[in-house]
């Protein structure tokens, strides 16, 4: 329910309440009382807070909040017509195991040195599937990193000055509007004013627009104005003009309008990292140092199955920095965004052409959000036909963990369908389950080509069976890179798919986000695509799944440019070469590592699963040992233990050259020979370079080296070039230690000594 904190807060039976600080009208309230009442009744208090304002205001934690949420956008990330930006969530220590999404923690490596890793992964949907509490995979890593660097660059004093300056400009604007006789609704403010302008709202908004300024129409009688670090005195003077005033900025002295009882006294960002890199030279080198520790596509193939780590071409990336794409507000009038809308329409048309569907929503910000939106569309469709009770979702046992987690979130009951020995969906079991739940069957979620990396011959039959029992077919588009130009899901029986633009359509992975997961549907589901109150006034049958109407609009030019430059023939050729590359790896490595799952003709799709499980039984070498040893060869590991535990899934994509494929194949063969040494009993797994991988300069410099292989064998396997060597910055990271000793913020200074 929606209400007022002072009058409607009868906390009886509440499980929680969310407050905004400062609120949407710019008001800053002391939330201590309301928060206390919520908590006294056993509920949790959530505060949505503006990070920049918090440099000046008492933070939510000190007001008693249990959870704070918000956006890090204004820390250097362009508005981009709605995204991508990093949302944030922070909680009290007692709630840390309930925290959704990814969490970085501090652990140690095998030499006992500090090493970072993702912690508490057992909370995530990869492991918990339909019992997961959130279906989120993607975060907004690149944007979070930009925001963190903004804070590193400015430091606590710099951020405070920026906030102070925004507040002073707002105070000057307020003083001018007051002199013009306009009443301000919010008694206190940080950067936002709500001005009463009964009968004059449209006129003032039009006057502002004439001066190329957009103000917010709060309602028929009120205008909202929010300033930021880019606001100039000229802009403030132009706003006064729109309200009928002719003042100069220096005519007013700024006063402090923050509540006296809510001034921030506690320190923040005291850690050295926020106080050391304030010159450009220092920050440039800090970012270089961090980047040098990592292995990205600019160094080597990232053969991650199911992730499609293809080229993100420079020409595709260039337009996203143009101000015409970067600096539009998502709620700016549509006539100012005609370029964007032309791009959305053409891109949607192309995506329909490629997939065989009829309509597209660009709103979902990730594959997981796309799945959720697609399932909501299916539920709304059933409801529109008087069949709202249909809520059973069939999911093959081989599905990605996000599928059951999304189904659970969409309020569906998950029924698992078996796979046969070849890894195909067992159609007999599918039919039996569909029949058993016929009156409640809502959907099947199926990945194609399958998560096992094979084109199943009977996909049409699968779709027909589900339709026969009244269900809809959700086809996970994660593996679309194997189909573009060859087959169209909308033509062989699927009703809805999400399309991972960050896989098939060249948006970079950003180190773990942004993602982009538009959904495409057949015509009968089109009315149930996610709406947005800005576009439809909140009347659409299905509500929004993201904050902005077009999701992460500013990265759509990347996929657009990719399709535009590849053209019909290039897209098809890319698919064919992606399939060739995978089959080339499978053929060449088959004598060394069994290839799990091939079709009747012995072919894989665009990825293949290498099966080293026999080594585990024979000589205790695991997929993890192989994955970590690949780092010594300068490669990122393939996907580990998905979809089959203990195996490695390799997806080269079309972008990798034969030279790079051969380099990878040779590395894998060299690793196989190291395994053979263990099989022959020359050394144990514990003594082998595989178990000690990855190797670091500390191994090379180890004065007490007493291993059964030489330092050179460890560090430069199979004649790796010393000149071009990628050095892992840490030895193998200890996962157990990190989960037992949870540290999720910068360690104290003395540990850096």
């Amino acid at each position: 329910m929606v209400g007022d904190p002072e009058t409607d807060l009868n906390p009886e039976g509440l499980f929680g309440a969310i407050f905004q600080y400062p609120d949407t009208l710019g008001q800053i309230r002391d939330l201590r009382g309301p928060i206390e009442r919520v908590k006294a009744a056993g509920g949790l208090a959530v505060v949505a807070a503006d990070l920049l304002a918090l440099t000046l205001l008492t933070p939510p934690g000190e007001l008693g909040a249990d959870i704070a949420v918000g956006s890090a956008q204004r820390f250097g990330v362009p508005m981009g017509y709605g995204g991508p930006h990093a949302g944030y969530i922070a909680v009290r220590d007692a709630l840390k195991r309930a925290l959704p999404g990814r969490l970085v923690g501090v652990s140690i490596d095998s030499r006992g040195n500090r090493a970072y890793r993702l912690t508490l992964q057992t909370r995530e949907q990869h492991i918990r599937r339909e019992k997961a509490t959130s279906n989120i995979c993607t975060a907004q890593v690149l944007l979070a990193v930009i925001a963190s660097m903004y804070a590193v660059y400015h430091g606590p004093e710099g951020l405070r000055e920026i906030a102070q300056s925004v507040h002073e400009k707002t105070a000057v604007l307020a003083a001018g509007l007051k002199r013009l006789g306009f009443e301000r609704v919010n008694s206190h403010f940080f950067d936002t004013l709500t001005i009463r302008a009964e009968g004059r709202v449209e006129e003032i908004l039009a006057e502002a627009r004439r001066r190329r300024i957009n103000l917010r129409k709060v309602d028929e009688a009120h205008i909202g104005i929010a300033l930021d670090e880019t606001t100039t005195p000229e802009v403030i003077e132009a706003v006064w003009q729109a309200f009928g005033g002719d003042f100069k900025y220096p005519d007013f002295a700024p006063e402090n309008h923050l509540p006296a009882t809510l001034q921030r006294t506690s320190p923040y960002l005291t850690h050295p990292v926020f106080n050391r890199y304030h010159s450009e030279t220092e920050l440039m080198r800090y970012m270089r140092r961090l980047a040098d520790r990592d292995l990205a596509l600019d160094r080597a193939m990232i053969p991650l199955g199911s992730c499609t780590m293809k080229l993100n071409a420079a020409a595709e990336m260039i337009p996203i920095s143009w101000p015409e794409f970067a600096n539009l507000h998502p709620f700016a009038p549509a006539e100012q965004a005609q370029g964007y809308h032309e791009l959305f329409e053409t891109l949607s048309r192309w995506l329909c052409e490629i997939t065989g569907y009829d309509a597209v929503s660009l709103q979902p910000n990730s594959g997981a959000q796309g799945e959720y939106a697609g399932l909501l569309a299916i539920r709304a469709y059933h409801r529109s036909r008087g069949e709202g009770h249909r809520n059973v979702c069939l999911i093959p046992s081989s599905a990605h963990g996000t599928n059951p987690a999304s189904a659970q979130m969409a309020g569906m009951e998950v029924v698992v369908v078996a796979c046969d020995a070849q890894g195909y969906v067992d159609l007999n079991d599918l039919e039996a389950k569909a029949k058993q739940h016929a009156d409640r069957l809502a959907a099947v979620m199926v990945t194609y080509p399958s998560t096992h990396g094979v084109f199943e011959e009977k996909i049409r039959e699968l779709c027909d069976i589900v339709h026969r029992y009244g269900g809809q077919v959700y086809l996970d588009g994660a593996n679309l890179n194997a189909q573009v130009g060859l087959a169209k899901p909308g033509h062989y029986g699927a009703d809805v798919s999400h399309l991972n633009l960050h896989k098939t359509f060249a948006i970079p992975h950003g180190g773990g986000g942004p993602g982009m997961g538009p959904i495409a549907v057949k015509a009968h589901l089109a009315p149930f695509l996610p709406g947005h109150p800005v576009l439809d006034g909140g009347t659409a049958p299905v509500g929004p799944v993201a904050a902005a109407p077009y999701g992460s609009a500013s990265i759509l030019p990347i996929s657009f440019a990719y399709i535009w430059m590849m053209g019909s023939e290039g897209l098809k050729r890319a698919t064919e070469v992606a399939i060739l590359n995978a089959n080339y790896i499978a053929s060449r490595l088959e004598p060394y590592f069994p290839v799990l799952y091939k079709n009747e003709k012995g072919r894989v799709a665009h990825e293949c699963i290498l099966d080293p499980r026999a080594f585990k039984a024979r000589c205790d070498i695991t997929a993890e040992d192989i994955a970590k040893r690949l780092i010594d060869f300068g490669f990122h590991a393939p996907t580990m233990s998905f979809p089959v535990p203990g195996t490695l899934m390799v997806e080269p994509t079309e972008s990798e050259s034969k030279h790079e494929l051969d380099r990878f194949i040779n590395a894998m063969i060299a690793i196989r020979q190291e395994i053979a040494q263990i099989e022959r009993g020359e050394l144990t797994a514990e003594e082998s370079p595989l178990r000690h991988a990855p190797h670091t300069v500390l191994d090379l410099a180890d004065e007490h080296w007493n291993r059964k292989y030489t330092r050179a064998q460890g560090c430069f396997p199979a004649g790796q070039s010393a000149m071009d060597k990628y050095w892992s910055p840490v030895n193998r990271v200890d996962n157990v230690y990190g989960d037992r000793n949870i540290v999720c913020s910068c360690p104290p200074v003395e540990e850096y000594a």
Binding site: M1, V2, L14, G16, I18, L44, A48, A65, A68, Q73, G87, I89, A90, L95, L99, P100, L103, V104, Y116, T138, A139, V141, L142, S148, G224, A226, L269, E280, M287, R288, A291, D292, A296, E335, E353, E457, G485, H509, G510, G511, G512, G543, A561, W564, M565, S568, G570, K572, V577, I579, Y584, R603, A605, I631, M640, E660, L661, P694, V730, C744
Partner: protein, 203 residues
Amino acid sequence: MTPERKPRSTDFSRRHIGPTPADIEQMLQAVGVSSLEELIQQTVPASIREAEPLNIGPGLSETEMLARMRAIASKNQVFTSLIGQGYYGTILPPVIQRNLLENPAWYTAYTPYQPEISQGRLEALLNFQTMVADLTGLDIANASLLDEATAAAEAMAVAQRSCKQPTGPFLWIRTCTPRRWPFCRPGPNRWAGSWWWATPKPT
């Protein structure tokens, strides 16, 4: 009229696709087929193959694409937006734009599931978590969520899982920015019925 003959250097797809035509011949041989088409026939079921080529048009060169993209971009008008509601003008420091946002070492990396080769971005994310925890005055922050609306919905889910009376209502204070919260309407969602959409009324 003779169509313009374009040099191969302008064919973007040849840059995007790694193997050269000569490489492809060798690879087909290693795989044991005589042509790409034969491989595709052995891989993709005939029952789902499209007979017609895609109708996207010929590929553009990088130069042509950028020129046409400029024309599309120029149809956007960059006004000064003082609309707020979670989106603000901000200055991306050029040193960060050039060395991070536009640097493939940062943007082409994968999710840091392999921690050994991800120490750089893991440190940057730890800085993000420290920054958020410090500024909010809370103990622990995660490495980001999709957007503020998703964060609010996830917070609601955390509250529901963690409180003593998970079946009660969840109160949305009227002065929360309405456009920022998805899921806040009646309908098929995981908290159906407990709350609804409302337009804030200035008081």
